[in-house]
C-alpha cells in the first residue's frame, strides 16, 4: 500500500528501535558467547535463545505492520542507485530478521539439542537430527550473522549520510519522536 505519509507510523517506529536494540545485542551476544569458556558463556547462551525467538515474533509483527501501514516515500530527488540500495536493504533486513532465528532453531533441532526458552518452557524440534543439515545451518547462522552486522553498519552509514549530508527527511521518518504523521518536509 502506498502512502503520502512522511514518517513511519508510531508502532513501526517503536518496533524499529526496540528491534535495533534486540538485534545489536543478539549479534554481540552471539560473537561473544562463542569466544569464551567462562561462566558468561552459559549466561549469554541462555539469553541468545529466547531473545532470538522474541526477535522472530517481533519481526513477523513488524512485517504485518509494514504491509498494513506501508512506508513513507523516499525523497524524489534521491539518485536511483541510492533508492535501489535503500529498497533492497529493507528486503534483506526483513529476510535476515526472520531467517536468522529460524536457522538457529532448526540448527539446534538438527543437533538434537532441546530449544529451552526458560525454565521448563521449550520449543519443539523443527528438523530431524542430521549432522549434514546441522553443519549447513550452523555455517549459515555464523556467516549470516557477520553479514547482518555489516548490513547494520551500512544502514547506519546511510542514514547518517541522509541526515548529515543530504538532510532530506529520511532520518526523521524513523527517528522522530513526534506522533504527528504529516509534518512539513524539511525545505530543500
Amino acid at each position: 500500500m502506498t502512502t503520502t505519509r512522511t514518517r513511519f507510523a508510531v508502532p513501526q517506529r517503536i518496533l524499529h528501535w526496540l528491534m535495533a536494540i534486540c538485534i545489536l545485542s543478539m549479534l554481540f551476544i552471539g560473537v561473544g558467547m562463542v569466544s569464551t569458556i567462562t561462566t558468561k558463556y552459559l549466561t549469554l547462551v541462555q539469553i541468545h535463545k529466547p531473545l532470538g525467538i522474541a526477535i522472530l515474533v517481533l519481526a513477523l509483527i513488524r512485517l504485518a505492520l509494514r504491509l498494513y501501514y506501508g512506508a513513507p516515500a523516499l525523497p524524489a530527488d534521491l539518485p536511483t542507485p541510492m533508492k535501489l540500495a535503500a529498497e533492497l536493504s529493507q528486503y534483506i533486513f526483513y529476510a535476515l530478521m526472520i531467517a536468522m532465528p529460524l536457522i538457529g532453531w532448526a540448527m539446534l533441532s538438527a543437533a538434537e539439542y532441546p530449544v529451552v526458552l526458560f525454565g521448563s518452557v521449550h520449543l519443539p524440534s523443527i528438523l530431524p537430527v542430521s549432522p549434514s543439515l546441522h553443519t549447513l545451518l550452523w555455517h549459515a547462522h555464523y556467516y549470516l550473522a557477520f553479514a547482518f552486522f555489516g548490513l547494520i553498519l551500512m544502514h547506519v552509514s546511510a542514514i547518517l549520510f541522509h541526515k548529515l549530508v543530504r538532510n532530506d527527511g529520511v532520518f526523521e521518518a524513523m527517528a522522530s519522536v513526534s506522533t504527528d504523521d504529516q509534518p512539513e518536509r524539511p525545505t530543500h
Binding site: 554481540f28 561473544g32 569458556i37 567462562t38 552459559l42 532441546p114 549434514s132 549530508v165
Partner: protein
Amino acid sequence: MAQSSASPKDFRLWPFVVIAAVVGIAAICFAYTAGWLSPNRLTPKKLVAGLAPPGGPALGHRRNHSKGICFTGTFEANGEGSALSKAPVFVRGQYPIVGRFNLGTPNPNAEDAMVRTRGLGILITTPDGQEWRSAMINAPIFPVSNPQAFYDLLTASASKDPNAMKNFIGANPGFLTFLPWAKSDQWTESYAEEPYNSLNSFLFVDESGTKHPVRWSLIPAAQPVSISPAELGKRGPDYLEQEITQRVAAGPQHWKLMVTVANPGDPTADPNKAWPADRRTIDVGTMTVQQIEPERDGPCRDINYDPTVLPAGITTSDDPFPAARSAAYSRSYNSRTAEEADYPRTATGAKQ
C-alpha cells in the same frame, strides 16, 4: 535544526568523519567482543585444540572421550530426589536413557589398557520433553581446579620442555591429590564395574525454590573385579566394548544414582576437592543398561552430552567447569558433525 541540503559545491568533510568514526567504533567493539583483539583469551577453539594429539584430532569423532559405545536403558526414579529438586526426572517413574560408555582419550582407536579414565554420558528424557544430560567419569576427583588449569595441564603434557610438568604442578599442587588414583594399577575389568561421578557441583532447586548444592555418582551393582592394566592389555585392545556387549546381552546392568548434598562451606567451585565422606547422600533411583549398540550407527552418536542441558529444577552452580565444558563440547560437536564423511555410518551407504 534543519540545515539546507548541501549542493555538490560546498562539500563538507566532517559528516564523513562522523560516519567513519561511528562505524569504526562499532566495528572495534564487535571485534573486541568476538575476542579478535584478545589473543590471550581462552576460547573454546583453543581449549579443544589443546586436547588434540600431536598428529591432529581424529576427524569425525568427539575431540575427547573419543572411543565409546552406545547404550539404551532406563532411569527408574524412586521419588526420593523430589525433596531436593522439582525436576520431573525425580518423580517416581521410569524414563528412557540414551547413553555412552567411553574412554578419556582423544584417540578413538586407543587400546583400553592405555586409558585410566573411563566415562559415561547419559541423556534422560521425561514425558514433558525436558532433558537431563550428564557426562561423568570414574575418577574420584578432577585433576585440576579450574578450566584455565586444565588448559595449562594439556599444554604442559604436550610440552617438550622437561620442566613443563614440574612447573605445572608447582602452580597447581592440587594435581598431586589426583595422582594416587591415576597411577594406581587397581583397575576394573568392565565398564559395568565402574562408578561414574559428576565431580562438578550443581544446584538442585526444590518446589519452594530452595537451592541445594549437590554432586552425584552412579554406583555399580556389579562387584568390581580388580585387574592391572598389564593384565587388561592381554585381553585385547577393545576388550571393554566386547565385554560390556556380552555382559548386557546376558542381563541388564544396574547402577544406583546417589546424590550427595554439600554442607555449608564445602568447595562447590572446585572439582579437585572431594567433599568429606560423611555428607548426606540420597539414593534417588536406578539406572539400568538394557542394550549395547556400536557407536558408528548407534543412537548416542549424534548426541552432545553437554552437562549444562538440565531440566528445570537443576542448574549450574559456582563451579566454572560446566560452562567451559559446554562451550568446548559445542565446538567439538560442530567440528565432528562437519566431518561426517570421515566417520561414515555403515547403514547410510559407506562403501564396503
